[in-house]
């Protein structure tokens, strides 16, 4: 029993360690990164030999977690919302295989897209996979849910999704921890075909999963995370999920909420509790941070005039929820805009001073001026910032690895001198398979893997590409003569231009690997070194 000041992400990590976790698997992604980092730096985790090394992508992470569960141990896999798209195949099927050791899938959504390409709501995935969701309203609940979640997973024989959003992930609060549990011992699943999804077995498992839905819902009805609060004023009933609960309470500081309130933090949705508030109240306001999932289900296809929320315009259709939006929906305050004095200029993020990517782009821009605009397909990473002035270098950013395959598709369509610009970590995450496609057809593309030895945008985590890029490209079949490299520094500008130009003129697959360490990780190394001297 201990009180710690923890980010939501850290509370999840601490809870997993305390609950007898044997391995966390993840690829860095804002706002989920700090979960795994906390476990990597935790003493108990080290003493217990808890696996915490970064995986190559979310799919390999998910599959490793399933494997650890198969072997009887408790595993956790963490990712940002779009990471679940990458892991979706393994995720969907893990609901059908079920678990042996308890398994928690933590997904951190990013409504308002603070650091993301979209704001998809991961609850739909769990709904799709027919597994329970835990959605904490605060850091303490995040801790408790993970601490008890492994048992829930083992009891119901399915992975459990823990869904959070940016605000909880990156907000600190005091968290009371519980005693540290023993880790599970290795054990085989009682049925050695449980994880064999041959159609005949999968059909059987799937029927079991469907049959268990009533049990999951029954658990939601009784769950202490779901609560019905009586209220005298039945003109309105409020259903609030996850951190929306706090925004509701914020609007009634030191006052009682006059309306009946249903707090929902465990899914599948508890239909008895929902029916109760629905029947009691004249109107229902649904508050949720993300897509209108609960509201949509209540509305159905035919619509229900009693239900209010994001779909009716009482709350904004998109973006992160906040106390002011809730205040407006409750009629407690007037709609207001954020007023920024005209004189205040926007200050978008930019590449760090001295960044190697900048030197690569400076050379690339000069060469592309010769070949014409609109040919540089890029990817997810710090270098995406080159879409903005002053560099204005890239023309696409869709998903991890898409630079390589989009350049291929454009080249297939007849575009000459198509370029892919991707980082080292993103390349090993999802670029390698696309490169193999290019090699198979000898597609005329130039792939620049700007190698800074790290996963930069998320804060400099270990890159599984480290010292392997050259070998990987040759191994995939790129002609060694067209795997080029240079050190991206001002003094090498002319060399860089020459290499890029030569490879753009080559009608086949070229890979250029500019290689210089990230200035941030280098700075950190120097600091650590100074500390130890």
């Amino acid at each position: 029993m201990n009180k710690l000041l923890l980010l939501g992400d850290e509370a999840i990590a601490q809870a997993a360690i305390d609950a007898g976790l044997s391995g966390v698997y993840a690829y860095p992604g804002t706002p989920s990164t700090e979960i795994t980092e906390y476990i990597q730096n935790n003493k108990t985790a080290k003493d217990r030999n808890i696996h915490s090394q970064w995986s190559t992508n979310e799919k390999t992470a998910m599959e490793s977690a399933i494997g650890m569960s198969y072997a009887g141990k408790r595993s956790m896999v963490c990712m940002k919302h779009v990471g679940l798209n990458v892991a979706a195949d393994a995720f969907m099927n893990s609901a059908i295989t079920g678990v042996n050791g308890g398994m928690i899938v933590v997904v951190a959504d990013d409504p308002s897209m603070h650091s993301s390409q979209n704001e998809q709501d991961s609850r739909y995935y769990a709904d799709f996979a027919l597994i329970p969701i835990l959605e904490p309203s605060n850091q303490q609940e995040a801790y408790d849910m993970v601490y008890n979640g492994f048992e829930l997973s083992e009891k119901f024989n399915v992975p459990i999704m823990l869904r959070i959003t940016t605000r909880l992930a990156h907000s600190r609060a005091s968290v009371e921890t519980k005693s540290v549990k023993e880790q599970n011992k290795n054990s085989l699943p009682s049925n050695l075909r449980q994880f064999v999804l041959l159609p005949a077995i999968a059909r059987k498992n799937y029927k079991v999963l469907i049959g268990n839905q009533a049990k999951f819902e029954d658990d939601s009805e009784k769950s202490s995370y779901n609560a019905f609060y009586e209220g005298k004023d039945k003109s309105l009933g409020i259903i609030a999920s996850g951190i929306a609960v706090n925004y509701l309470r914020e609007n009634f500081k030191e006052k009682e909420i006059p309306y009946p309130v249903l707090k929902i933090c465990q899914y599948p949705l508890p239909s008895d509790l929902i029916r109760k508030i629905y029947n009691e109240c004249k109107e229902i306001l649904v508050l949720e941070d993300g897509y209108p999932l609960i509201e949509g289900k209540l509305n159905g296809v035919l619509g229900d005039k009693k239900i209010k929320g994001r779909l009716t315009g009482d709350l904004p259709r998109d973006g992160e929820l906040n106390p002011n939006f809730v205040g407006v929906a409750l009629g407690l305050e007037k709609k207001s805009e954020i007023v920024v004095p005209e004189i205040v200029a926007p200050r978008p993020p930019s590449l760090c001073p001295g960044c190697g990517h900048t030197d690569v782009f400076n050379a690339l821009n000069e060469v592309m001026a010769e070949f014409g605009p609109g040919r540089v397909f890029s990817d997810i990473g710090c270098y995406t910032l080159s879409a903005l002035p002053p560099l204005n270098s890239i023309n696409s950013c869709v998903d991890m690895g898409a630079s390589v395959t989009m350049a291929k598709g454009a080249a297939d369509a007849g575009m000459k001198h198509a370029v892919a610009f991707i980082g080292d970590s993103t390349f090993t995450h999802s670029g390698m398979t696309g490169l193999l496609d290019c090699v198979t057809e000898n597609t005329p593309v130039t792939i620049i893997i700007s190698d800074n030895d790290t996963t930069g945008m998320t804060g400099g985590q270990h890159s599984n590409a480290q010292n392997r890029l050259h070998q990987i490209c040759i191994g995939l079949g790129v002609d060694e003569k067209h795997v080029r490299t240079f050190i991206p520094l001002k003094k090498n500008h002319e060399e860089a231009i020459q290499i890029i130009r030569e490879e753009l003129l080559y009608e086949g697959v070229s890979v250029i690997i500019p290689h210089r360490e990230c200035v941030r990780t280098l700075e950190r190394k120097h600091k650590d070194k100074a500390k130890h001297e």
Partner: protein
């Protein structure tokens, strides 16, 4: 008591060191707190802010509602104005005078000061200069905290104790420099309130 504080600055300026000090002080007092931070993309030289909420009763929302912040502490003058919608009518805006110019269209600094002076309660302090004067350039954020301290409803000694806790492992000299920075900031505000 309650203190809702917005911390503002540019990614890399280290606003979280101010948050850490206030947070440590609050915890030592047994107060409730929530503090939301910015991680990820914006940290690359973009505008960043942190919502810090301290209270003797439980804190609900991680976000401060607009128009409810007691204090804005900004380590950069233009950034202090970005969050003005959050300041309550009689709240205080405390800003560093020194601009951080990493954009091509940074406005005329005098015009920015003019806009800041339109805020009823404000303190503009050259925290960088004061930190340099005491030969502790890295303590400018603690100067800022000192300047804001009269408007945070917590005993001044609790901030001192927090600095001792945070910097204790780095030796007496560093602790003393930061204590001096805190005092200098505070006394500047006491002498220049509402200029």
């Amino acid at each position: 008591m309650k203190a809702d504080i917005i911390l503002a600055g540019v990614g890399g300026q280290g606003i979280l060191s101010i948050a850490a000090t206030i947070g440590t002080a609050a915890l030592q007092q047994g107060l409730y707190m929530k503090q939301s931070e910015v991680h990820g993309m914006s940290q690359r030289g973009g505008d960043v802010s942190s919502n810090m909420r301290i209270s003797s009763t439980q804190v609900d929302s991680d976000l401060i509602p607009r128009g409810k912040a007691d204090v804005i502490i900004s380590v950069e003058p233009m950034e202090s104005l970005r969050y003005i919608s959050w300041l309550k009518p009689d709240g205080w805006l405390i800003t560093n005078a020194k601009p951080f110019n990493n954009i091509s269209n940074y406005p005329d600094i005098e015009e920015i000061y003019k806009e800041i002076r339109k805020v009823k309660n404000h303190v503009i302090i050259d925290a960088d200069e004061i930190a340099k004067e005491i030969q502790s350039a890295r303590s400018s954020n603690i100067v800022m905290l000192g300047a804001a301290s009269p408007f945070i409803d917590m005993d001044f000694d609790t901030f001192k104790k927090a600095l001792e806790t945070i910097f204790g492992s780095k030796g007496k000299d560093i602790v003393n420099k930061n204590l001096e920075a805190l005092e200098k900031g505070r006394s500047y505000t006491m002498n220049h309130k509402g200029n």
